[in-house]
């Protein structure tokens, strides 16, 4: 039995670069280097491991929604070993909040065809950590999220979810949406063979028309939230820094006492 896995990945600005807002309240990506969100690499990795560990036919599609350069996130997934890519690009998507983005992703996932959707636990830029749950709700399928271990086969997915209070083993029938944490397993580096093979792999490009979506439902126009103010915080005023001369601990204690922490 074949298993169709769609991995949702995001192209994000490098956190090491300087980030700011554009005039329309969206994130200004001009002049900021982007890359495949590190947390999504874990999702690609798990998809590939499921494929490698399966007796049946497994097809791994890497899907992203974003402007032209977001295609690099798909390419990275293909170099790692995914079979095909989908890049949804449409000017109307610019400025989408999680509700708009998830609408586009849900439509694309359905159009691509899926048994299992794999996501990272959060993007490394917005870091809301809600997209997998939103996607599951939109697709009407179970969510098995925040997994540190995952396995899929025989029409089901199972894994370990490490919550704040307990560690749980969870399972659900397919189709389902899964998200994985950075504890799920180190993501592989693309091999030379993988890099060469990726050049020949198919990447389809869809726009909102292809997905049957109305531009009013996405982008800034379709946003459910509005940033009314974004103020750059003055850099923290650097506090006092002393060198330990045998009394460093006592000095910290005096500082803490002065601030009424002790």
């Amino acid at each position: 039995m074949s298993l169709r896995i769609v991995v949702c990945v995001k192209y994000v600005p490098d956190a090491a670069g300087e980030r700011r807002f554009a005039g329309d309240g969206t994130v200004d990506r001009e002049g900021v280097d982007g890359l495949l969100s590190e947390l999504d690499e874990y999702a690609v990795e798990q998809a590939l491991r499921i494929a490698e560990g399966s007796d049946g036919e497994v097809d791994v599609t890497v899907l992203t929604v974003g402007p032209e350069d977001a295609r690099e996130a798909v390419s990275k997934g293909l170099r790692m070993g995914a079979d095909r890519g989908v890049h949804v690009e449409d000017g109307g998507v610019h400025g989408s909040d999680v509700m708009g983005t998830s609408l586009v992703l849900a439509a694309a996932v359905e159009k691509a065809g899926f048994d299992l959707v794999l996501c990272g636990m959060a993007s490394t830029d917005g870091a809301m950590g809600v997209l997998p749950a939103v996607l599951a709700e939109r697709l009407g399928v179970p969510q098995v999220t925040l997994l540190s271990e995952v396995s899929a086969g025989g029409g089901a997915v199972s894994g370990r979810r490490d919550g704040d209070r307990a560690s749980e083993r969870v399972e659900a029938p397919l189709p389902a949406v899964v998200s994985v944490t950075d504890q799920s397993g180190e993501a592989r580096y693309p091999s030379f063979k993988g890099i060469m093979a990726a050049k020949k792999k198919p990447v389809v490009e869809w726009d909102l028309d292809d997905l049957g979506l109305d531009a009013d439902g996405v982008g800034l126009a379709g946003a459910f939230t509005e940033v009314v103010e974004a103020v750059e915080r003055p850099a923290r005023t650097k506090g006092e820094i002393v060198t330990d001369e045998g009394d460093g601990g006592l000095k910290v204690a005096a500082f803490l006492a002065g601030r009424k922490f002790i």
Binding site: V130, V170, R236
Partner: protein, 322 residues
């Protein structure tokens, strides 16, 4: 007065501190209606009333423990329905809280704001969520423009305040959706209680990084944490080295904390770590390397060896307490 729905996180009826903080936030916006679901839920009613809940909607069913997340979404959706048009729905941040809020937002056609560090009352009486973004370099104020504002609030966003209210207990009728009974919890192992506060909830966090030098050396970090009544955190380097459990990782791929006091020991302050702790009110660092980027953030820093500074600090605190 308008009602504000507050999702209550609890363990067997013992309410988590961030949920009590939510009641403080909720009272600014209207009358808090607390929703509490799961085993022992009714036991939470008393404390919720003491902290301002006008109504407490209770649902105890085995499904909340047997299946992942969605039964709780059904309960929260039922509560929103029972209230009518609440002025907001507040949920505290955390893996599960975010997911409950997210699914509720989709169901009710509402916008969602996550990781609010504060909630203010806007000109229209509705909530304005304050967020700290881009590693705390920007402060934003956001409004939900469609549906019922669903706001996920970070721990320590508001103080816990006693505010006796009716706390009228009502049974909440919940009809579970087909999706609710799909993702089954087949095994559950509770975390060992360390006796320390939850990392994300703690008012004080003491973290250790690469400079700690080994798992056994975390004892000096723990000793300081215990002297301060603090939670213990760890950098990714320390976690990846296997010195401390991942559940204690502070940073972009771990937990985000914003305590009153954050003490970083032996942590250089990589951008990923800073992203997870930069909203801490007061930051203290101890590091041997005077060039460590963490020193750019600190209110007080000591260039020195944590293995001598921390024990001396711990002793002095214990001495002052006695």
């Amino acid at each position: 007065m308008a009602e504000v729905v507050v999702w209550v996180d609890h363990a067997g009826g013992v309410v988590a501190k961030p949920s009590l903080e939510l009641l403080t936030v909720a009272r600014r916006l209207g009358d808090p209606v607390a929703v509490v679901a799961g085993e022992g839920a009714a036991g939470a009613a008393g404390v919720l009333g003491e902290h301002g809940a006008v109504r407490v909607l209770v649902s105890e069913a085995p499904e909340y423990g047997e299946f992942l997340v969605v039964p709780k979404v059904d309960a929260l959706a039922a509560a929103v329905g029972a209230v009518g048009v609440p002025v907001a729905v507040l949920v505290s941040s955390g893996g599960e809280g975010r997911e409950i809020a997210a699914r509720l937002a989709v169901r009710t056609g509402s916008g969602i704001v996550t990781d609010a560090v504060d909630v203010e009352v806007g000109a229209d009486g509705g909530p304005v969520a304050v967020q700290s973004v881009f590693a705390a370099s920007f402060t934003t104020r956001s409004r939900v423009t469609r549906g019922v504002p669903v706001i996920v609030v970070k721990p320590n966003a508001a103080p816990v305040e006693a505010a006796p209210a009716a706390g009228a207990v009502e049974n909440l009728d919940v009809v579970f959706s087909p999706a609710a009974v799909c993702a089954r919890v087949v095994e559950c192992a509770g975390r060992e209680a360390s006796g320390r506060p939850e990392l994300t909830e703690a008012a004080v966090v003491v973290s250790g990084g690469r400079g700690v030098g080994g798992a056994e050396n975390f004892a000096v970090v723990e000793a300081l944490a215990d002297a301060l009544g603090a939670a213990v955190g760890a950098s990714r380097a320390a976690v990846d080295a296997g010195w401390y459990p991942h559940s204690h990782q502070v940073g972009q791929t771990g937990k985000s904390v914003s305590p009153q006091l954050y003490i970083a020991s032996g942590i250089s302050g990589a951008i990923q770590h800073r992203a997870g702790m930069q909203t801490s009110k007061t930051i203290v660092a101890i590091n041997k390397d005077p060039e460590a980027p963490i020193f750019d953030l600190v209110d007080y820093g000591v260039i020195g060896d944590l293995h001598t500074v921390l024990p001396q600090l711990t002793d002095d605190i214990n001495h002052r307490k006695n």
